[in-house]
């Protein structure tokens, strides 16, 4: 049987650390919120159990999800197409022909800049979602933007 293979390249290994920090902060906020709610609202018998559960779940998410995501996130650019894969529980693969690429966007959030990482977003004329590659090494991302712009330029038409 034939099946769609994973795209060739992984994102930067540093992305894992960035995602750990990112989800860590989010998990901390959620755990704090749930903790306050448990202390204030939960009946006495359940209070500490619920608090412990909230902390365990949030910690597990912050530890597991970035690693899982790193295993899934991949990208590949061929002569005629862009192919990305992202997600963790739900895996989303997107393929767009080079001739339909409309814009190539390079973005760096504050956290990404700290880790020297960047996000490249490739949009087509479709409203059903762009192709996004997160956690690329900054230099790799810049080279990729160059390559995509050059290849997309070679094709005439308005890409619709």
């Amino acid at each position: 049987m034939t099946q769609l293979r994973d795209p060739a390249h992984r994102v930067s290994p540093r992305a894992r650390l960035m995602w750990h920090v990112e989800t860590g902060i989010a998990a901390l906020a959620v755990a704090a919120g749930l903790g306050v709610a448990a202390v204030l609202a939960a009946p006495d018998a359940l209070r500490w159990g619920l608090l412990a559960l909230a902390i365990i779940v949030c910690t597990a998410v912050a530890v597991v999800v970035p690693q899982w995501r790193y295993r899934v996130h991949r990208w590949e650019v061929s002569a005629t197409a862009v192919y990305t894969q992202r997600g963790w529980w739900a895996r989303e693969r997107r393929i767009a022909p080079m001739s339909r690429v409309q814009t190539v966007d390079f973005a760096q959030g504050p956290l990404a800049r700290l880790f020297g990482l960047a996000t490249v977003t490739v949009t087509t004329a479709s409203a059903a979602g762009p192709l996004q590659i997160e956690g690329l090494d900054r230099d790799v991302a810049l080279a990729l933007v160059d390559e995509l712009t050059r290849k997309a330029d070679l094709v005439a038409g308005d890409a619709t």
Binding site: M1, T2, Q3, L4, R5, P7, E76, S78, T80, A81, Y83, G87, W89, A90, R91, E92, R93, R94, I95, A96, P97, R100, T124, A125, S126, A127, A128, G129, L131, D158, A159, T160
Partner: protein, 489 residues
């Protein structure tokens, strides 16, 4: 040179439309002014209230001009904040002529030029309010080249002959029988919801004193009568709304454009460039299927998003046969709408059942918990109801699920209550999205979407077997997905 090459003004008759409309908009203010003015005797203020809307209309008339020049439509407007909008004529996807009753009395029409820009800001819309009807039609012909207004024939002796306007072929025309489908189109729910909302508002603003005697007067019969009244009223509203929006409906092909004309009071004429029609969506929601009706929307490149939904309508709820005729005529081939679809196999069927039954689970657990807590045993019968509904839904969803590649079109069908059969021309597929959760990966399934530049941005179908998803993509866009394949045992 066509008459639109120089800067044109709107029709002066629009000076009458705008004051009437603006006065309508200012009516609450006006009434307030008159009452306040009557009380305090402040005459000049009341005058300002009347003069301002009229003045705004005059300013709009004086400052708005348009032309077609050098292959571009240009529109200038605004007094202090001058806007100049320009768009290439070959980017025009659709032209929308609307005439409210006021416009119709004056022989005018508003022109909205659809370019597929994502800007929904009113400032960025190419809108001309208003032109004389025949001038509006001429402008539309020039923009969509339905009458080949640009390809002026030149005779050997040098005189130019205007080309004959293309003949209009009518594909579907409104018939009073179509009103039968109005109550099955979902507008009934909207109407009922609106009525409940209004009732809620009223009951809040009007203080009704309810005594115990009143409560005692509420019998089962009264409840039934009120419920029946609401249902009847909702149906009447749905039929009336259908008649007002879709009365006089005509779908016709003229040259390289589709024209949709509809509306009993406010006339709307929507014209779509044939080259921009990427596909067709045949709407077959469950209620409409029961009534043996269908509706049709076009998937138009550059016309996407919610506020274009009404522009891309090709057929309101109408008899099934007409629905198939319209879809076939627009696609240029009947097979994408009639060909049998490939089923998705046992794993997809299992998923339909598990998902429907899991959705029903809370509604089953609730009565069961009630019985356990000491409730009457007949509650268990109530628990069977959601199971029945879920099973019926699952059966219908299994029957709906399918895809195919037919006559150059990617065809996908899914859903139950909102089922639709979408056909997208292979040339308009601009990418593939494959989404699979951990459960789907275990079952060897993937949710497949073919992306496109129009409509909702994609046509999609859940739970396609992995191999079938690749086969469909390879049939529609050879080599695109094929370069990323691998062999597995």
């Amino acid at each position: 040179m066509t008459p639109t090459e120089t800067w044109q003004r709107l029709d002066p008759r629009m000076l009458l439309v705008h004051p009437i409309k603006e006065v309508g908009r200012f009516l609450p203010v006006l009434i307030g002014l008159l009452i306040a003015g009557g009380a305090s005797g402040g005459g000049p203020w009341a005058l300002l209230g009347v003069g301002l809307p009229v003045g705004l209309g005059v300013v709009r008339y004086l400052t708005t001009t348009y032309r077609i020049h050098d292959g571009r439509v240009e529109l200038r407007r605004g007094l202090l904040q001058r806007h100049t909008l320009a768009t290439p004529v070959d980017r025009v996807r659709a032209v929308d002529l609307t005439a409210s009753p006021i416009h119709r009395i004056l022989g005018l029409a508003t022109v909205v030029i659809g370019t597929g820009s994502v800007a929904s800001d009113a400032d960025e819309r190419l809108e001309l309010d208003a032109l004389p009807r025949d001038e509006a039609a001429r402008l539309r012909a020039a923009l969509l080249r339905t009458g080949q207004a640009y390809a002026v024939q030149v005779l050997p002796d040098g005189t130019a002959l205007p080309p004959p306007p293309a003949v209009e072929q009518v594909v579907a025309r409104f018939s009073p029988r179509w009103l039968w489908y109005a109550p099955f189109s979902g507008t009934v729910l909207v109407a009922a919801g609106a009525m409940l909302g209004v009732a809620g508002q009223l009951s809040q603003s009007i203080h009704v004193r309810i005594t115990e005697a009143d409560l005692a007067a509420i019998t089962e019969a009264l409840v039934l009568v009120v419920a029946a009244g609401i249902v009847v009223l909702a149906i009447v509203l749905a039929v009336g709304g259908y008649l007002v929006t879709n009365g006089n409906f005509v779908l016709a092909r003229q040259g390289s454009a589709w024209h949709v004309r509809r509306g009993l009071l406010t006339h709307r004429e929507i014209s779509i460039d044939v080259a921009r029609v990427a596909g067709v969506s045949l709407g077959e929601p469950a209620a409409l299927r029961v009534a043996r009706g269908r509706r049709v929307h076009a998937i138009v490149t550059g016309l996407g998003g919610e506020h274009h939904a009404s522009s891309s309508m090709l057929l309101p709820p109408a008899p099934r046969a007409i629905g198939y005729d319209v879809a076939s005529a627009v696609l240029g081939d009947a097979t994408p709408m009639s060909a049998p679809l490939l089923p998705h196999g046992r794993a997809a069927v299992t998923r339909r059942y598990t998902r429907a039954l899991l959705g029903a689970l809370p509604f089953v657990l609730l009565p069961v918990a009630g019985v356990v807590a000491g409730g009457p045993v007949w509650l268990l019968v109530v628990a069977l109801l959601p199971v029945g509904v879920a099973l019926a839904l699952a059966v219908d969803r299994v029957r709906s699920l399918g895809h195919a590649f037919v006559a150059g079109h990617v065809v996908m069908r899914s859903g139950s209550a909102l089922r639709s059969r979408d056909a997208l021309a292979a040339g308009h597929v601009i990418g593939w999205n494959q989404r699979a959760t951990w459960f789907q990966r275990r079952a060897g399934l993937v949710s497949l979407a073919a992306t496109t530049a129009g409509g909702k941005g994609r046509v999609h179908v859940p739970d396609v077997p992995v191999a079938a998803a690749i086969a469909l993509a390879e049939a529609a866009t050879p080599g695109l997905v094929g370069q990323f394949l691998e062999e597995v045992r």
